[in-house]
Symmetry: C2
Subunit: 229 residues, 2 copies
């Protein structure tokens, strides 16, 4: 029997690589969707391509979408990335790295592709712990999007229910890494740093690097990412 | 006092031109958002630019987004456009011109721009009568998106409520044209045809042309659009 199809949002980071492994382990044929949205670094797209190849996905689509046209975020505009913050400081308020409506946009595009593919399962690597400050990483946001998907689509009108899978939602970074290692994810293929050096080495100091290094340390495993000396 | 800002989805068609006039008449400073999503005809984008100029909008953003990458619709892929259908036939089932999750995608992007602009009002020209077959033109879809917008954004978390304005929702095409004429819309600037000739003349026979011509006829006014002989 053919495996059910699923659209998996794949950024090239540690979280979405783990989600891709979980979708595949769950019996889905993964179709990976990566957005080229004016990230500071093409490094992320390269990582997504390496991961898609390593996981032998059914198809990998890299869709350009210029979120810089709107302005308004550290990840797409030219404002400084915070450094050396404690996890407590990271979880206060809404981070400057918040991109307006980003997950709504990404899920909407994933929904369109799902409908064309006849897929009803969407996987996204959002996490409510490490990214507590992001409005669109909360369970209530995901529930609202799932409800919207059923109303927004031909498939929904015909009685199909969409399911937004967020398997990392309540995991710590250490939990995520443990799960990925169990599933054989090669984290050397992933990139997390918000502010890498010109040759692509991770900075160790942005929120993403701090969380990632702590997550590997908690598992007693060396992070295979390449860090600046 | 500065007028409140609003993002208005502007396709270059008759409906969205009317919505732009309604938003302006309602006291909003309109920011017009047009998507270049692989429509068959650049004619629509040109019409949107003419309308934005005629209405002297605060800003007009034309955002490329390649929905063709997903496949799956008469408006973006190479499948025939239906012709000479009665309004009854048009309202049966979901039209082949349905673009998967299109309004979800468009509203998501409008939401991102709204948040950056500090706007909380989005205008969209959906209509539940002429386009009864489109799942994402229904009031329940709009209500679900409005709910999602409050959960998805920093502004929503901070207590701001978004409002999705769909002033054409329950109007007939004749009502829409009457309202636009009252507000001084120059419908010669708009384009509606799904299947224009190479030099941009409307076909008279696709669903959009049929509805438009009937709407003008019901008002006893000549449609100023240029039609094929």
């Amino acid at each position: 029997m053919e495996q059910p199809r699923a659209v998996v949002l794949l950024s090239g980071g540690l979280d979405s690589a783990t989600v891709l492994a979980i979708a595949r382990a769950g019996g889905f044929a993964p179709f990976a969707l990566t957005f080229d949205y004016g990230q500071r670094h093409a490094i992320e797209i390269d990582a997504a391509r390496r991961l898609a190849a390593a996981f032998a996905v059914a198809r990998h689509l890299v869709l350009p979408i210029d979120l810089r046209a709107f302005g308004g975020s550290a990840l797409t505009a030219d404002v400084p990335v915070p450094r050396d913050r404690s996890p407590e400081a990271m979880s206060e308020g809404i981070p400057s790295t918040y991109v307006p409506a980003r997950n709504t946009i990404f899920l909407s595009l994933a929904l369109a592709w799902s409908e064309v593919l006849g897929a009803h399962d969407l996987f996204i690597g959002v996490n409510a712990l490490d990214y507590a400050g992001y409005p669109d990483c909360r369970p209530e946001f995901l529930a609202a999007f799932e409800h919207l998907a059923d109303l927004a689509t031909r498939a929904g009108v015909l009685g199909q229910r969409f399911h937004i899978h967020a398997p990392l939602l309540k995991l710590t970074k250490a939990d995520i890494i443990r799960r990925g290692l169990e599933l054989g994810v090669d984290y050397a293929l992933t990139t997390s740093c918000y502010d890498p050096t010109a040759d692509g080495a991770a900075c160790r100091r942005c929120d993403a690097c701090v969380l990632r290094l702590q997550g590997f340390a908690a598992n007693g495993v060396r992070d295979p990412a390449r860090y600046a000396p």
